[in-house]
Amino acid sequence: MTTFPSNTAAAQGWATCHTCTKLASAELHHCPRCGAALHLRLTDSLHQTMALLITAVLLYIPANVYPIMTTDQLGESIDSTILGGVLLLWHHGSYPVASVIFIASVLVPVGKMLSLGLLCASVARKDVTRMRQRAILYRVTEFVGRWSMVDVFVVAILVALIQLGGLLVIRPGVAALAFSGVVIVTMFAAKRFDPRLIWDQLNEDALEEGTLEEGKLEFGNE
């Protein structure tokens, strides 16, 4: 049985419901207000996050190697990959579009996988430094995940619009499937990571340094 820092709800045997935020005794197993399952911490959070993360990394390989779409122009087929498309747009001088696709399809997913890996590693090492920064990193990671779908949506629109008989046709590629998989799997990975694990590493020694007492609320205006 793991012990929790004394200022946490888990140390009292209380669990916060993830669906409705009610604080209830974990012995109830189900939230008395909304009926969702209660856990002190997400079950097997680190292992499940890592497993999903590895899946995402593996899916990201075909997402970049295979074409995301194929253009059939007058009997000639041209495949374009995610990075190839970004480079082509850049050469044509479409810097804003190239940047949007690069951010959504490369920076966000890679950054997300790196930050989840870093968060898992820091928890596994029982790191007690820069906790608030890591909490913010987690929040940003969770927030930006859905934005990487942009490129798949662009392919959807292009495929639907460019259907000019035998002259010019755009077809979706395997990479569109792999990349959608990356987005979905990383979103699940971020959901499976329990940010409370970051703070659970504060043992009694760290608490005695006097930085942590029972909290006082901070207020702000909308």
Binding site: N7, A9, Q12, W14, K22, A156, A160, L161, L164, N221
Partner: protein, 204 residues
């Protein structure tokens, strides 16, 4: 320590007193900075208004042409449904299902859930489906990607603008308005405030 009158931060599990907020106030966790809860200025009025507006715009977005393209004597017009159907017919059925779910099916389900939730809460009445609607709305809303789709459409328009004349249909503008109202409605719903309100009307 007693359980009643307390909450714990969802992101760091610090035990805190239950915040008593005035209208328009927000409470943050002192340790990790997570926004614990916020209280809207006007109860559920604004959320309900945005939800109703979003419903009207979503219906309109499904009824008219979405985009059309003119190039060298050819013209091709698509509806919102065709933007996912064509992927289905061109060899990537799974991608089509994913796109259709993220831009239409899940947003529509979240919208219906919000209507079922907000109409009774706005009137201060109880309804047998409040808990189910709350679970649906808060569980599914991360998977509604309407605003991401709007950015995707704009990127494709810029991409095609050099080679063809693009015509934006009524459905396109409706979808943009829908995404703005939907985002405003979803982000105006505070999880703790909504569930506290459900508890209040159901125990009365």
């Amino acid at each position: 320590m007693a359980l009643s009158g307390r909450i714990a931060c969802l992101e760091c599990d610090l035990v805190l007193p239950m915040p008593e907020l005035g209208e328009g106030q927000r409470a943050n966790c002192p340790r990790c900075g997570h926004t614990l809860t916020s209280r809207p200025l006007d109860g559920f009025q604004r959320s309900l208004a945005f939800t109703l507006a979003a419903s009207v715009f979503l219906v309109a977005a499904c009824m008219f042409p979405f985009l059309s393209m003119k190039a060298g004597g050819f013209e091709n017009a698509i509806t919102l449904f065709e933007s996912t159907l064509e992927i289905y017919e061109n060899g990537q059925p799974v991608v089509a299902v994913i796109v259709g779910a993220f831009i239409l099916v899940i947003p529509a389900a979240v919208l219906l859930g919000m209507l079922a939730l907000l109409v009774p809460l706005f009137q201060g009445r109880n309804a047998p489906w409040l808990v189910a609607s709350g679970r649906l709305v808060f569980g599914l809303s991360p998977w509604s990607m309407v605003e991401v789709f709007v950015i995707g459409v704009i990127v494709s328009l810029v991409k095609l603008a050099s080679m063809a004349t693009m015509v934006l249909g009524i459905s396109f503008w409706s979808y943009v308005a829908f995404s703005i109202c939907m985002t405003a409605a979803v982000s105006s719903l505070d999880r703790m405030y909504v569930w506290d309100s459900i508890e209040r009307v159901s125990t009365r």
